[in-house]
């Protein structure tokens, strides 16, 4: 701590240049540097998972399958799921943008527990090494859900190594969530009341509640799973009086809320960007805030909708179906409020806004198709088909990955002190949008027509739509490589950014780009409401 304390005396030092040794990065407790460590790590895993996705799409070009055996294919989609869920989507926005921005938005100098923050990164890396080990050793073939008894008795893959990786990654998530909750409670700047906080902080708060309360359940579930796999006796084994459905209950008690971990931070990002690029105050601030919280709460009560066809009683299925429909209400509130924000605003179509608009459209499709699968009768037809795959990719990839890119472009000048090339940013956003739709829209049709997910081969009549989807995937790959290229380029050759290149509100824009190690020379005092942009709606002008 003493090194950082002494740094406060030389105020003008950017956090990027305050110490240049590798040691000063690997042992840093500065939330901004940890965010960058995380950014590098999750980018690596994004491309590992992306390569698996590319191979999946390559395989499905021909009805009989293009590569290897069904076994290989099973291992590919499992690795794609495991890596993307636990090593990209769940950490993505919280550990990078969240780590960087939570203290800045609060007007604080760091998170509440900086050392814990660093530990969480090391846990993530340890987990990542375990995951890569199981990948290199041959992978695992159970799907990311590890259903029993497949995962405990029949799978020939490296289940235990993968489970250990996820177990450790879980504690990394818990550490981050705990840090955010306590920081938001404890470190708000003078005048920063709860209702003056940016929505990004509220949505990370909701996210963190889920991380902290749901992840430990997964941890114990995985312990039970690993025990059964290792000792060949366990609680999910029906031959000794156990219950395989118990695994599904416990797994989805975590994994459904975790789905909202993968989207709530995205809501937060979009809620920052839409007002900034409409130059207008966020419409219905309190509704947006409380819709995040209610999604987090309702999210804990809907896990049973993953088990409609697993033998749930009609009564419990009905209850879970109704509760699942209820999630649509707060989600729709958000979408309408973003549109309400743009209405009457002075909208600029810079790259972050293009990504944000893509998010709104794609998330809406993803959300509405969620209602199809929440409906009992429709789900019997659609479950385990490509319709489900398309649905959650519209939310996870069309939604969350777009939001991640939106946020990355929006705060890139603050993070690096450089501007990304705007024209390439817009080109990238458009390519990703069209590539995405070409990849995943055909999958809705495939699923509706009855193509099951997780199969290595398929009947020839599905080939046209599959080829379209695979063609879209190549466009999508270009779309994702493009930001990697021009953002790396901008690190060295990009134009220097001003402190507030978007004329945005929020405390993070009130300090330098890139910020000094201690974030603010003087702790800022907050008097204005959030999103204090010049334009506002009629009723807001009167209050």
């Amino acid at each position: 701590m003493s090194t950082i304390a002494s740094a406060t005396t030389k105020t003008s030092n950017s956090y990027l240049t305050d110490g240049t040794t590798i040691r000063s990065w690997l042992l840093t407790t500065d939330h901004k540097r940890i965010a960058l460590l995380y950014l590098g790590s999750i980018t690596l895993f994004f491309f590992v998972g992306g390569i698996a996705a590319a191979l999946i799409r390559f395989n499905l070009i021909a009805p009989q399958g293009m590569i290897g055996s069904a076994e290989t294919y099973n291992r590919l989609f499992t690795m794609h799921g495991v890596v993307m869920v636990w090593f990209f989507l769940i950490p993505a926005v919280p550990v990078t943008l969240g780590n960087f921005l939570v203290p800045l938005m609060l007007g604080a100098r760091d998170l509440a527990f900086p050392k814990l923050n660093l530990i969480s990164w090391y846990l993530y890396i340890l987990a990542g090494v375990a995951a890569l080990y199981s990948l290199i050793a041959g992978g695992v073939d159970t799907g990311w859900t590890f259903y029993t008894p497949l995962a405990t008795a029949y799978s020939k893959g490296h289940v235990v190594a993968t489970v250990v990786a996820i177990f450790i990654a879980g504690f990394s998530s818990i550490a981050t969530g705990l840090n955010f909750i306590i920081s938001i409670h404890s470190l708000r700047a003078p005048g920063m009341t709860w209702y003056k906080m940016p929505v990004f902080l509220w949505s990370l708060y909701a996210t963190s509640v889920i991380l902290v309360l749901a992840t430990p359940v997964l941890a114990m579930t995985l312990v039970l799973l690993a025990f059964e796999r290792i000792f060949h006796i366990g609680v999910f084994d029906p031959t000794v009086g156990g219950d395989p459905l118990l695994f599904q209950h416990l797994f989805w008690f975590y994994s459904h809320p975790a789905v909202y971990v993968m989207i709530l931070p995205g809501f937060g990002v979009i809620s920052e960007i839409v007002p900034a690029f409409s130059n207008k105050r966020l419409f219905g601030y309190k509704f947006v805030v409380w819709s995040s919280i209610s999604i987090a709460v309702i999210g804990f009560l809907v896990w049973g909708h993953h088990m409609f066809v697993a033998g749930a009683s009609l009564y419990s299925a009905l209850v879970f179906s109704i509760l699942s429909f209820m999630v649509a209400v707060p989600s729709a509130i958000k979408v309408f409020n973003w549109i309400g924000t743009m209405h009457g605003g002075s909208v600029r179509f810079d790259a972050p806004m293009l990504y944000a608009l893509g998010f709104i459209g794609l998330f809406t499709i993803g959300g509405l198709t969620g209602l199809f699968v929440a409906a009992l009768a429709a789900d019997v037809h659609l479950t385990q088909t490509y319709f489900v795959v398309a649905h959650f990719h519209y939310v996870m990839v069309g939604g969350m990955v777009s939001a991640f890119f939106a946020g990355l472009h929006f705060w890139w000048p603050k993070i690096t002190g450089r501007l990304y090339p705007e024209i390439w940013g817009r080109v990238g956003a458009v390519i990703i949008f069209f590539g995405f739709n070409l990849t995943f829209f055909p999958q809705f049709l495939l699923g509706y027509l009855g193509m099951p997910r997780r199969y290595h081969s398929y009947p020839p009549e599905f080939q046209v739509l599959n080829v379209l989807s695979s063609a879209g995937a190549t466009i999508l790959a270009v779309g994702y490589l493009l930001p990697l290229a021009y953002m790396t380029w901008s690190l060295f050759y990009g134009k220097r950014a001003s402190d507030n290149p978007w004329s945005a509100t929020g405390l993070e824009w009130r300090t330098e780009s890139p910020p000094p190690t201690e974030n603010f020379e003087v702790t800022p005092a907050v008097t204005a409401p959030p999103y204090d942009y010049p334009l506002r709606d009629v009723e807001q002008r009167h209050v």
Binding site: A112, I181, I182, V217, G241, D243, L246, L250
Partner: protein, 216 residues
């Protein structure tokens, strides 16, 4: 979060601010721990519901005397530690150290009784739910399932005890270096919360292992 240095870290406005933050962090951590143990207890009770007689047959094989003694030992350990917290509030570092050593030794005693004696007996009597499990007949499956929970539950609890012993030991070392006073003892409270939590887990494990179904 228990690693709060005795000097004020730069993101806090005052030592009091820092102390309150650290303690609330510990409480939240304990909430995550509850949700870690929760599924174990849930699965335990759920599985017992479907295999009641088998579970009871398993429970009758457990060593209730060792378990009861251990319960007394562990609760006493927490009591002594809490007395230490009271002493340091008044600035009594020497008393704090004595209490912590007492609590530490009782914790060690628990582990020795549990794993040195009880587990050894269990293994000798072939109660580990492997292929040469001792109980035969129609209740075999249920009893094996009971011992899956028994070994998993006590192992996970034992690991928490081990972490607790390390933490209490760390408090002893820091107290010996005179780092605590009546104005700064946040880590003592944080570790105390954890140590009591480990108790709470045992208080639930104790009836699940030794009492439920014993008289059946």
């Amino acid at each position: 979060m228990s690693e709060v240095s005795s000097t004020q870290e730069f993101q806090y406005s005052s030592p009091r601010h820092q102390a309150e933050t650290a303690i609330s962090g510990m409480w939240l951590f304990l909430a995550t721990e509850m949700l870690f143990f929760g599924p174990l207890f849930l699965a335990w009770i759920y599985s017992r519901h479907w295999n009641q007689q088998g579970f009871d047959a398993g429970a009758r094989q457990t060593e209730v005397i060792v378990g009861t003694v251990n319960t007394v030992v562990l609760v006493t350990s927490s009591l002594i530690y809490s007395m230490g917290v009271t002493f340091i509030e008044g600035g009594g570092t020497r008393r704090l150290i004595q209490c912590c050593i007492g609590a530490w030794l009782l914790g060690l005693m628990f582990l020795l009784l549990k794993f040195g004696i009880e587990w050894r007996h269990d293994f000798e009597r072939r109660l580990f739910p492997g292929s040469d499990f001792a109980i035969d007949g129609p209740l075999r499956d249920g009893a094996r399932l009971f011992f899956v929970f028994y070994f998993l539950g006590t192992a996970v609890h034992g690991l928490h005890m081990l972490v607790g012993l390390i933490l209490v030991g760390w408090i002893i070392l820091r107290a010996r270096r005179n780092e605590f006073s009546s104005s700064y003892y946040t880590p003592v409270i944080a570790v105390g919360l954890y140590w009591s939590f480990v108790d709470m887990v045992w208080i639930i494990l104790y009836p699940l292992i030794y009492l439920v179904g014993r008289g059946a």
